[in-house]
């Protein structure tokens, strides 16, 4: 089933970039270039996700969002904003946004976030195990095995690996990984994530699978499915 997505964005370049990206991922994309149009579209159609710019002509993004939520519409909303400040993020989430992203952004990261939000509408898979290639994770017992051999992971490593395994073959940015593990939102100009990933990779290497976690320069990390 194709996902329906609405993009409300007044900047033509950004709109084109985002719309093309989603279309390439087999999404069905509608777009609006001002708040009024966006609200009308959102009210009269059923979408899996709305990507909403914060500053819009005619009707401001946050006002649109509040109007939408007041009318009982619970479609997941991802706010895109040029305002990177922490308080803006808080405002956006309080107005009913489900996630918040600052411009400029990597499309890969937007895609991961969008998928995560859109999937919220479909029921969770019943399975409590995740499997990526020869890597297996039991969520209940928190046992991780590689080629049938158990890996001893620390809690943070477990959380990071879980996030990577939920998005196999996708480039996951450091910000996303950071948010997956910690409840603090700030640009982590630190290599905390890199150190954790390095430790994780070393444990894989011991079992001869160091290549499983790939570093994508300038973007983040990717968990490879095959060998």
């Amino acid at each position: 089933m194709t996902m329906r997505i609405l993009i409300v964005e007044d900047d033509a370049t950004t709109l084109k970039y985002v719309a093309e990206g989603f279309t390439a991922q087999q999404y069905s994309v509608d777009s609006a270039t001002d708040g009024q149009e966006g609200l009308t579209l959102a009210k009269h159609n059923q979408y899996d996700l709305i990507v909403l710019d914060r500053m819009l002509p005619k009707l401001d993004g946050l006002t649109l969002l509040s109007a939408l939520r007041t009318s009982g519409n619970q479609t997941p909303v991802l706010i895109l904003s040029a305002l990177s400040h922490v308080d803006e993020r808080v405002k956006g989430l309080r107005a009913g946004g489900d996630d918040y992203m600052t411009k400029p952004f990597a499309f890969d990261e937007l895609l991961v976030r969008a998928e995560k939000l859109a999937q919220r509408n479909v029921p969770e898979p019943t399975s409590t195990d995740i499997e990526v290639g020869s890597l297996k994770m039991e969520l209940l017992t928190r046992i991780v095995t590689l080629d049938g051999q158990e890996l001893m992971l620390q809690p943070k490593e477990f959380q990071l690996l879980k996030y990577l395994m939920e998005h196999p073959n996708q480039v996951i940015s450091r910000t996303l990984l950071f948010e997956a593990v910690w409840d603090y939102h700030f640009d982590p100009r630190t290599n905390v994530i890199d150190v954790h990933i390095a430790k994780l990779r070393r444990k894989f290497e011991e079992l001869g699978h160091g290549e499983l976690i790939e570093t994508v320069r300038g973007a983040g990390y990717r968990l490879c499915k095959g060998h």
Binding site: H85, V86, Y184, T190, V195, A198
Partner: protein, 451 residues
């Protein structure tokens, strides 16, 4: 050219003396002086007139008594002779002896009242000043009514002269005060106009201009001194801002020129290297953006534009989170990383911002301390200390590190925006917390106090 256009040109060059406040004060002063003089002169005038009238009355009364006595003691002929011989300078006497008029007048004016009532009447004489004004009345004697009068036109002249003199006195005073006021206004305005011209220069960008200060130490000098002090501060701040702008330009110029070279070289790269080259450029670009974001956030926090998401924060919990996040970094450098939290305390603050600030300090401590050294976080009530055995910071640099874009590591070996500590300080100030750097012999101790 229309009149108002001409006026515009005349007035445009600054204010005229008659527009000044000094002139307004002059006007008020002159009005008061004029009123005072007019009051003085008019009261003097009244005194003078009453005195003169009294004298005339007394004189006439004395003359009346004299002629009444005379009428009782001498016969009619002698009486007539006496009247004829009367000195007109003392009093003017006229008596109607049955048909003839005896005395100074050839007729008796009509409707003359009996003394002490008097009346003014004019007479014509043949002399050079033909019209005389007299005041007088009738006195009843044994030989009938006698007119007794005295010349009062000299009094009228005196009054005339007096009024004239008074008018000129007032006019002179008024003229003098106004002229002096105008000159004073002009003198005061000259300094103001000078100040005005100098501030126009400052407005045009000559920030090193200063107002002249004389040795008189008057109110203008005080104003000029204060103004100069304001200018000093302004110029200093301006220079600081310029310095920061230069630093930003410098900090961004390097990565931007790297980007330029990188993009230029992309076309010559073999296809298998393209992905790496692109990623490298993206990293460089992200660093630039991070610097921009940090600048913007810093300004917003410093100037109080950013609203704090205030909530109760347990400092022990915050430090525990800090430790958990940073632990892996210390571990990677085989550093001994310890957390002490003897007493918890709750403060009101923005959890994320505070965490960001504290993490920055811990991250720095780990980054700049050698492998195998030890780093200690201590949270005791409302005081948090972060101590390391790194290279420390020289005393003269301890204040400077909080300035924007100041980096003590000239090689820029460690990645960073140069804004981290400025941000830390700004966030802590917003929370009314103090930060203090001291030596750990060797190393650095950062001490933070919450109120």
């Amino acid at each position: 050219m229309k009149l108002y256009e001409v006026l515009d040109i005349v007035f445009a060059k600054g204010i005229k003396p008659y527009q000044s406040s000094a002139w307004r004060i002059t006007l008020i002063f002159s009005t008061l002086v004029t009123i005072l003089i007019v009051m003085l002169v008019s009261s003097l005038y009244r005194q003078l007139i009453i005195e003169q009238e009294n004298q005339v009355d007394t004189h006439l009364h004395a003359e009346m008594q004299r002629y009444q006595q005379l009428a009782l003691t001498v016969n009619r002929r002698s009486f007539a002779a006496q009247i004829k011989a009367a000195d007109p300078k003392t009093a003017l006497i006229a008596w109607k002896n049955s048909v003839d008029m005896v005395g100074a007048l050839t007729f008796l004016p009509d409707d003359m009242p009996f003394l002490p009532e008097t009346r003014e009447f004019p007479i014509f004489t043949g002399g050079p000043d033909k019209l005389h004004i007299l005041t007088g009345g009738l006195a009843m004697t044994n030989y009938g009514p006698v007119l007794i009068a005295t010349r009062t036109d000299q009094l009228a002249i005196l009054i005339d002269k007096f009024v004239n003199a008074a008018f000129w006195a007032v006019a002179f005073t008024l003229g003098l005060t106004l002229a002096l006021g105008y000159i004073f206004s002009k003198a005061i305005l000259r300094r103001l106009v000078q100040y005005n011209q100098l501030s126009e220069q400052i407005e045009a960008g000559h920030y090193n201009t200063r107002l002249p200060v004389t040795h008189q130490q008057d109110e203008f000098d005080m104003l000029a001194q204060q103004f100069n002090r304001v200018l000093d501060t302004l110029e200093q701040n301006l220079r600081a801002v310029r310095g920061v702008t230069d630093n930003i330009a410098h900090d961004l110029r390097t990565p931007l020129s790297h980007l330029r070279i990188g993009i230029e070289q992309l076309s010559q790269k073999p296809i298998e290297e393209l992905a790496d080259a692109r990623a490298e450029l993206l990293e460089e670009l992200d660093d630039c953006l991070a610097t921009f974001d940090a600048m913007l956030s810093l300004t917003r926090i410093e100037e109080g534009q950013q609203q704090l998401d205030v909530q109760p924060i347990h400092l022990t919990e915050l430090c525990q989170d800090l430790y958990d996040m940073a632990d892996v970094l210390a571990e990677a450098k085989e550093q001994k990383f310890v957390l002490h939290t003897p007493n918890d305390a709750v403060i009101q603050g923005d959890k994320y911002l505070l965490f960001q600030a504290l993490f920055n300090l811990v991250d720095n401590a780990i980054k700049y301390s050698p492998e195998g050294s030890s780093i200690e976080i201590t949270q005791d009530a409302k005081c948090i200390t972060i101590a390391d055995n790194g290279p420390g910071i020289d005393d003269e640099d301890k204040e400077r590190v909080f300035e924007r874009l100041v980096r003590l590591d000239p090689s820029r070996h460690f990645k960073g925006t140069g804004l981290g500590l400025s941000m830390v300080k700004a966030i802590l100030s917003r929370h009314k917390a103090t930060i203090e750097l001291s030596d750990n012999h060797p190393g650095l101790v950062v001490k933070i106090h919450f109120k």
